[in-house]
């Protein structure tokens, strides 16, 4: 029982990271129809930004966190400006290829400028200390993951409902032309979407790095894939769907850790994708997605 409660919180805290990443993917997708597969590289950007600062002697964890968040948000804005704006009106496949290209360039930058091998970033490891609450063992990090993610989501909801640019982002998901007709600049709406996706990814990145205590050039690959799966699971393009999909994915993963014997641990990711596949057979539009009528393709 103890074990179950501890693992449930673990599931939520891992799920929270996926939710943050999935939200960023979904926000950019909803305003400009781009699946930004370079999104995972924001984790690398956060990691190498912290690594570089620590190497220069700045080891205060709070400063590192703030620096990483600011850097990722800035990088997201720069990428939008130099890589994604020029292909904004191109066919979707062009945007997708651009995203892959950006991802590969960033990975190679990490690789060439630092090292192909993992590097330690131990400054945030203190967060892994266990604390005892009502007889259960948790880590500080787990509470932070759930707590900070909740605050971030609440902040995002406020932004989307309470500010004009937030309203524009919601409206642009369905009809960008009319948003422009209101006198709202497309550049501003899309840049804001990228900034928010970067900010949310940087929070996920900090938790990710705190758990691992190390960085490597390809650390963003699996998380972006999981975030993509979370989006599909929740209903692609739906923001609540991204949150629900992320949480569900985290819980399923932890459930498999609990259930699968150690010998089969290698099958964990495969099993996760299998379960996701089964869910999608029954709800092809995702959990919160709306059914899109694509026409009957049965022979």
């Amino acid at each position: 029982m103890d074990y179950l409660i501890e693992q449930a919180l673990n599931g939520f805290s891992i799920g929270a990271q996926y939710s943050l990443l999935a939200l960023g993917l979904a926000i950019v997708f909803s305003v400009m129809g781009l699946v930004n597969f370079a999104h995972g590289e924001f984790i690398g950007v956060a990691g190498y930004a912290m690594f570089a600062m620590a190497a220069m002697g700045m080891t205060d964890p709070w400063l590192l966190v703030v620096f990483a968040m600011a850097t990722v948000t800035l990088v997201a804005l720069v990428l939008e400006r130099v890589a994604f704006r020029p292909v904004r009106n191109a066919p979707p496949t062009t945007g997708l290829l651009t995203a892959f290209g950006v991802g590969i360039i960033l990975q190679n930058l990490f690789l060439l400028m630092v090292s192909p091998r993992p590097k330690a970033v131990p400054e945030l490891s203190a967060l892994n200390q266990t604390v005892e609450v009502a007889g259960h063992n948790f880590t500080i990090l787990q509470f932070l993951e759930v707590g900070v993610t909740s605050v971030a989501i609440a902040g995002l909801v406020w932004f989307l409902k309470g500010t004009r640019i937030g309203l524009a982002m919601r409206a642009a998901a369905l009809d960008f032309t009319t948003v422009r007709l209101m006198g709202m600049r497309a550049n501003r709406v899309i840049a804001t979407a990228f900034a928010i996706s970067g900010l949310l990814a940087s929070i996920a990145a900090i938790f990710f790095i705190a758990r691992r205590g190390a960085i490597d050039p390809f650390m963003g690959l699996l998380p972006v894939l999981k975030a993509f799966v979370a989006c599909v699971l929740g209903g692609f393009g739906s923001l609540p769907g991204a949150v629900v999909g992320g949480l569900l994915l985290g819980l399923v993963e932890v459930l498999l850790i609990v259930l699968l014997p150690d010998k089969l641990a290698g099958l964990r990711d495969a099993s996760v994708f299998l379960i996701v596949g089964v869910i999608l057979v029954f709800r092809p539009q995702g959990i919160l997605g709306r059914r899109v009528e694509l026409g009957d393709k049965t022979a």
């Binding site: 409902k161 004009r164 309203l167 009809d175 422009r180 007709l181």
Partner: protein
């Protein structure tokens, strides 16, 4: 106020509008008529900067619009209620109005303007927390007009506001458009409902297959019905 001069608009190799000139003076209601595919919507989109011009120029209040983006044109007092209303279906009535005022600060006169919209369209006040998508067609058209008014335009362009509405609602909308003139608004009205519109418009233009076929007083167009039939088919009896 608005001077469209020798404008041509293309969609790739397809020419939608050819060498069309049109003028709207301050305080006028000008009707832009013509059958499906005549190029009316294309012309209004170009005036808002949503479509590039292949030739010609567009001036608003004496200023060349060609170098200005859509936002700047809205800021200068040009507004379009688009074809098909295009109400933001996932936003509430209030949020729709809020976005309509995107070029203005959210000060005291913003709230006064919301109240003004609710006075003009009491049904919108009742539905203020409902989403745009849940409104009826007529209510959506009212919301689209109210949303356009929130930018405080001096020239309001309306693209087929009667489209798909019951005759009673159409009458209501047209009455409202006439009343807007008293609020210091100039109006450019695109319609296929030529009959009704010619009764209250000052001047009219007829567009057909991308070319201008008539420019002059609305009244004369009503008389010269037989002549116009040749140009626009069954629209003018």
């Amino acid at each position: 106020m608005l001077e469209i001069d020798g404008v041509s608009i293309n969609y790739g190799p397809v020419s939608a509008v050819r060498n069309v000139s049109l003028k709207v003076e301050k305080g006028e209601i000008v009707a832009l008529l013509g059958p499906n595919g005549a190029g009316k919507t294309s012309l209004l989109s170009a005036a808002m900067g949503l479509r590039p011009l292949a030739a010609g120029s567009i001036r608003f209040k004496g200023e060349d619009m060609r170098r200005l983006d859509t936002e700047s044109r809205v800021r200068r007092g040009l507004t379009l209620t688009p074809e098909g209303r295009k109400v933001f279906a996932n936003l509430t009535v209030l949020e729709n109005l809020d976005l309509g005022a995107a070029t203005r600060a959210k000060g005291a006169d913003f709230h006064a303007d919301i109240e003004m919209c609710f006075e003009l369209f009491p049904i919108l006040a009742e539905r203020r927390h409902q989403t745009g998508g849940s409104l009826s067609g007529g209510e959506q058209q009212m919301l689209a007009i109210a949303r356009a008014l929130m930018s405080r335009p001096s020239l309001l362009m309306l693209d087929e506001p009667s489209l798909g509405l019951a005759p009673r609602i159409v009458g209501q909308i047209f009455r409202l458009i006439r009343d807007l003139r008293q609020r210091d608004l100039t109006i450019l009205l695109v319609e296929q409902n030529a009959h009704e519109v010619l009764r209250f418009a000052d001047r009219a233009y007829v567009l057909s297959t991308g070319e201008c076929r008539y420019a002059g007083p609305a009244a004369r167009l009503q008389e010269a019905g037989a002549l116009m039939q040749a140009y626009i088919g069954e629209l003018v009896a």
